[in-house]
Amino acid sequence: MTISGQKVVIVPCSGIGKTYGSVSRQAAYIVVEDLRPEDTQLAALSLLVMGDEASRAMLAENPAITIDGCKLACATKMVQESGGTVAQAFAVLDVYRRYKQFKPQGIAELNEGGEQLAHVLAEEIVGIVDHISIDSDVKDHHKGCENG
């Protein structure tokens, strides 16, 4: 969490028809639950689809990282439609192109390749989260100096 209390919002697409959707969901959980629980929070795409006020407020106050499973980029589009700021948009397919040794399969249950791909994707997301957090802290620090 930044000094000002901001938490990066992680928004996976969670597409139900493709393996990459499951990878996006799994990567989001790894970031939010395991790697950066203090710095991140999860937003449910279904709530955004319905224009949920709390979710929109969360996006209005915090930067978002989206993870899309296909070219339709539902997560990114939804965050933008909801008035949020996409700090970084990840596409699982692009990540897979960089790590072709991890071939994902399965939707309800990912194979080992899918789990590994989710982990490397999560590590890339964490890099962005840390960058955003440091930036925000520096800005908060500067504000504090100016005010104090």
Binding site: G17, R25, E33, A43, A44, S46, M50, A75, A108
Partner: protein
């Protein structure tokens, strides 16, 4: 000669990431789609409704859908109704947990035993609704559908004979049809189904129905303003062919 794909049921799950019940909806929907009723169901992606998935919207407009929600907010049911049409049936995991005296599902990534039980119960409920919507009776003893209860709609394979395809960008099974307009091939989503609806309503091809059929086609397909007349002529011409085939049957 057949023109329509086999009737299927669309499954829309909320997949809510922030609740264990959301994971239950996702896994239950996948169990139905992949194992219990793979031939009778298609997945409909909830976010695609909003992100402009015309295929998904069109499918839910023409075919029955089952909304599967994790909690009282019922995002899947409400979104389906808002962006397409009212779901034919609705399932809510929390209701099923209470009705079946199940434990509290926990674990968004890895469901606990109660969560896995909820997946099974929810999937069975969805499968039963699919059968009801398709008017099928499942013979538990035989492990197959009872004789005489099969849906009599045509099969997707039959469509290949007519040059139509049972596919779209989302893979939901909504039929598309390609027409040549001003020398260009143009793909129309849902056209065979629109023709079928007009045919069943007894609306014979002609100038009298041109405006109405174009309004319906426009819901699912972009019509360039400058080519409106050419599109209308091509669509009406194709409807005449469809009408003729139906009369000849």
């Amino acid at each position: 000669m057949v023109d329509l794909p086999k009737k299927k049921v669309g499954i829309v799950s909320c997949s809510g990431e922030e609740l264990a019940e959301g994971t239950v909806t996702r896994l239950a929907a996948l169990k139905v789609l992949e194992h219990l009723r793979p031939a009778d169901t298609v997945a409909i992606c909830l976010p695609l409704f909003m992100a402009g998935g015309e295929g998904d919207r069109a499918f839910a407009r023409f075919y029955p859908t089952i909304a599967v929600d994790g909690c009282e907010l019922r995002c899947a049911a409400r979104a389906t109704e808002m962006y397409s049409s009212k779901p034919a049936a609705s399932v809510m995991v929390r209701d099923l947990v209470i009705e079946n005296n199940l434990g509290q599902p926990e674990g968004k990534r890895h469901l606990n035993a109660a969560g896995l039980q909820a997946v099974d119960v929810t999937a069975e409920q969805i499968a039963a609704l699919v059968d009801k919507l398709l008017d099928k009776r499942w013979d538990r003893r035989a492990g197959t559908f009872a004789a005489g209860s099969q849906d009599t709609s045509v099969c997707p394979q039959d469509m290949a004979e007519t040059g139509k395809e049972a596919t779209c960008s989302c893979g939901s099974g909504i039929p598309i049809q390609k027409l040549i307009i001003s020398g260009q091939e143009v793909t129309f989503v849902g056209l065979p189904l629109i023709f079928q609806q007009f045919r069943e309503a007894g609306k014979a091809p002609g100038d009298a129905i041109l405006s109405e059929i174009m309004d319906t086609v426009k819901i699912y397909n972009p019509i360039p303003v400058e080519a409106k007349a050419a599109y209308g002529e091509a669509i009406l011409g194709e409807y005449r062919v469809f009408w003729g085939k139906e009369i000849a049957r």
